[in-house]
């Protein structure tokens, strides 16, 4: 049974698209047939980060409007056999998306893929709502600062009340917290919230902590998802997150949390 995964946040610019590209690529690397769908109509940039912007012919809206079939619009990744991208339209606005159209496309994707990753636009309005509405699981991307945590909290409330699962009284969307752009030095200086603080406020399971890293910008400039940069800290952290998503228990890395506790000093990790 295909899984629909939304990458969402409320707040803009926190790393949703970077995460969608990395997680989608990571799942494909592990042999799962995966499609990444850009819901950010009007501001598409998933194709840039995936390095397929020059091969976009048809987009999500074309498929919804029946101008193209899904097969025509899906862009096959050049590096990985199992990976496809459905680009957003750059010439339309969010009103071009509608719930019936999205449902039709999602249902068709479900028949052909193991994982469908929905890259949500920022905000809590229509576009973000449609991106999460059909989700089975959600990765809530959060930066370690108060406003981002607040927006994630708000988004968690919407996932629990305004999704199809919630409206049908089905089992709720499974929620994962992904803390990105984490900078342990700034946490130590008290300029950013620590992992524990964010976990405590949002009280959901921590999928991973992605450090603030030069590798992310470098990768996106080259159109290569950062998870393929196996030497980089961010690439490794995303790799761990994908493994956890698939059920593996792995200790968290790259989080020199402020004031490490006694046990942490003894064992050097957490969990």
């Amino acid at each position: 049974m295909a899984k629909i995964l939304v990458v969402t946040s409320g707040k803009g610019g926190v790393g949703k698209t970077t995460t969608s590209a990395a997680i989608g690529t990571g799942l494909a690397l592990r042999g799962h047939k995966t499609a990444i769908v850009d819901f950010d109509v009007g501001l598409r940039n998933l194709d840039l980060i995936m390095g397929c912007e020059r091969r976009v012919v048809y987009d999500f809206i074309n498929v919804i409007n029946g101008d193209a079939t899904l097969t025509q619009a899906l862009i096959k990744d050049k590096r990985l056999e199992n990976l496809y991208v459905l680009a957003a339209s750059q010439t339309r606005d969010k009103d071009a998306l509608n719930i019936e159209g999205v449902e039709k496309v999602i249902n068709e994707l479900k028949e052909n893929f193991e994982y469908v990753i929905c890259d949500s636009p920022a905000g809590i309005e229509k576009g973000a709502h449609l991106a999460m509405y059909f989700a089975d699981e959600a990765i809530v991307v959060t930066n370690p600062e108060v406003s981002s945590v607040r927006d994630s909290d708000r988004m968690l409330g919407l996932l629990a009340s305004k999704s199809r699962r919630a409206e049908n009284g089905e089992e709720p969307i499974k929620e994962h917290l992904l803390l990105t752009r984490y900078n342990p030095e700034r946490v130590t200086k008290g300029e950013m919230l620590g992992v524990e603080d964010v976990e405590e406020i949002l009280s959901i399971r921590l999928l991973g902590v992605i450090p603030e890293s030069q590798a992310v910008l470098k990768a996106s400039n080259q159109g290569i998802p950062v998870i393929l940069d196996e030497q980089s800290d961010a690439g490794q952290a995303y790799s761990d997150a994908v493994d956890r998503l698939l059920g593996k228990e792995i200790a968290h890395r790259f989080l020199d949390v402020k004031k490490p506790g006694f046990l942490q000093r003894l064992f050097g990790g957490r969990e």
Partner: protein, 243 residues
């Protein structure tokens, strides 16, 4: 300082915050004759409701924002039916100007919750006092997030998880929170002064019992901020005590 000076320093008043339940008459059509007839019919159904009832006149739903409305006549008409106008809600400049002439405060437009009232539904007290009816508590086991609102109507609200900043809990009875309370909690909202709030960790943006409230700015000064507490009302003072 002389005796007189000292006396002069002694406060003669105290400012207090409160949240009153108030009736709002939202006028949707500029037709005072029909209003007169329809109000008369309502008075007949529920005379007790219409005796010197404080009232806010909401005029922003009127066509053209209520331009051309005769405010003096409207106020007199309400008065005739036992409704005493305390203030206006209006955005139309002429109405605001007229309100000034009558010395009526103009309130900002409301985004708050307002329920429809049926004055006839309320009264008719039974001849013999009936057994208090037990309403089941509302139990919530998942976190309540910012932007969410949960109301336990007629009973208690029990929350087994965290309440986020920006979330709002409402209950006619008590509120229990078995996680950090970081949002707003309003107990006894229909005016029950015996309602209480219990929480494992007081970190609230606001707590209120029967309309008497404290906001975070005051709560943070409490020595029990962050602790497990219960909050009750004595007189019109909110008491916060350790659990």
């Amino acid at each position: 300082m002389s005796q007189a000076d000292l006396l002069d320093q002694e406060p003669v008043f105290q400012l207090k915050g409160s949240m009153l339940a108030i009736t709002i008459l939202e006028l949707v059509q500029n037709d005072l004759e029909r209003l007169d007839r329809q109000l008369a019919a309502k008075v007949e159904q529920a005379p007790a409701f219409f005796s010197n009832t404080p009232l806010v006149l909401a005029l922003e739903k009127l066509p053209e924002n209520g331009a051309g409305l005769d405010l003096a006549e409207l106020v007199a008409l309400c008065r005739k039916h036992g409704l005493r106008t305390l203030a206006l809600r209006a955005s139309q400049p002429q109405l605001i100007e007229a309100a000034g002439r009558f010395d009526l405060p103009v309130l900002p437009p409301s985004g708050a919750r307002e329920r429809s009232l049926d004055p006839a539904a309320k009264p008719a007290p039974a001849a013999k006092p009936t057994e208090p009816e037990h309403r089941p508590s509302r139990v919530v086991t998942t976190p309540i997030r910012g932007g969410q609102q949960v109301y336990a109507q007629g009973g208690d609200l029990i929350v087994m998880a965290a309440v986020s900043p920006g979330a709002e809990l409402l209950a006619d009875g008590h509120i229990h929170v078995y996680g950090p309370l970081r949002g707003r909690a309003l107990a006894g909202i229909k005016g029950n002064p015996n309602a209480r709030i219990f929480c494992q960790q007081l970190a609230a943006e606001m707590v209120s019992i029967a309309g008497s409230y404290k906001v975070a700015e005051d709560l943070r000064r409490e020595p029990l901020w962050g602790k497990a507490v219960q909050i009750g009302l004595s007189g019109d003072v909110l008491n916060i005590t350790r659990l």
